[in-house]
């Protein structure tokens, strides 16, 4: 068995560890900062998978827009510790953790039999802006247009829902 790529190992450890922190920390600000670590680890994984363009977009969209939006909302709500709500009792949470561990095992155990190696060298031009853009604007032009409609609807919905009085 060939050794595991150490860069991937570190990035995966950071991502999964920070992801576990996001779902376990009580303070939403701490959870958002852990999510930042998870997203940066994910960007490294994307780079290892030969997707430099998507790694850049990931950092821009997730840490630049989504995470900042989360932090903005957290600070706007300004929740006191007693407003954070009551979590489920520990017994229920352990049960759900077992359920999700089972889900993980269900996916991961068959994967242990999968010994396919990634090709040493990606095809030339793989993952560049040019190749992604060519596929996006030729084969998937309709999907691209639909996404733009979806985002426009989301903009309207955001304004409509968050506005105190129209």
């Amino acid at each position: 068995m060939p050794p595991i790529d150490p860069v991937f190992l570190i990035a995966a450890g950071v991502t999964v560890g920070a992801g576990a922190l996001v779902v376990s920390l009580r303070n939403p600000v701490h959870a958002a900062i852990s999510m930042l670590a998870a997203f940066l680890g994910l960007a490294v994984i994307y780079l290892r998978l030969g997707a430099p363009f998507l790694a850049a977009i990931h950092v821009l969209v997730y840490t630049g827009a989504i995470l900042v939006l989360f932090l903005f909302v957290i600070m706007m709500l300004n929740l006191k510790p007693d407003e954070l709500g009551v979590e489920y009792p520990l017994k229920i949470r352990i049960g759900i953790a077992a359920l999700c561990g089972g889900l993980f095992a269900l996916i991961a155990l068959p994967l242990l039999q999968d010994h396919r190696e990634l090709p040493k060298q990606a095809p030339p031009g793989f993952g560049t802006v040019e190749s992604v853009g060519t596929a996006l604007f030729n084969e998937y032009a309709l999907a691209f247009e639909l996404i733009s409609v979806l985002i426009m609807v989301a903009v309207f919905a955001g304004v409509l829902l968050a506005k105190r009085k129209l």
Binding site: T15, F70, I147, A154
Partner: protein
């Protein structure tokens, strides 16, 4: 090996699912949904790299667009709920329970 990447993907998805099911803070639930979507992205990119096909990367872009739309609407709903009910706890939101 591709299975390493897929195992990370499955782990992220399971962690996100746990967050959605076991937490009651709406903010954390939305963050968990983001983590689940990212787990799927890792799987898409791993398969794109395995087959040397760019289409997987295009779909990751689509997932990112949907995630951005979802989080903006979700947070707007969260603000509206907090303004009316002064709570972000899903356990307190049971007016539809009958």
């Amino acid at each position: 090996m591709i299975s390493h990447y897929l195992i990370v993907s499955a782990a992220l998805f399971a962690i996100g699912a746990f967050g959605v099911l076991a937490r009651r803070n709406l903010l954390i639930i939305l963050m968990s949904v983001e983590i689940m979507l990212n787990g799927v992205n890792v799987a898409l990119l791993a398969f794109a790299r395995l087959h040397g096909n760019t289409q997987g990367q295009v779909f990751v872009l689509m997932v990112m667009g949907v995630a951005a739309a979802e989080v903006s609407v979700g947070l707007a709903i969260l603000i509206a709920v907090f303004r009316n009910r002064k709570t972000v706890d899903t356990g307190d939101l049971k007016s539809l329970q009958g």
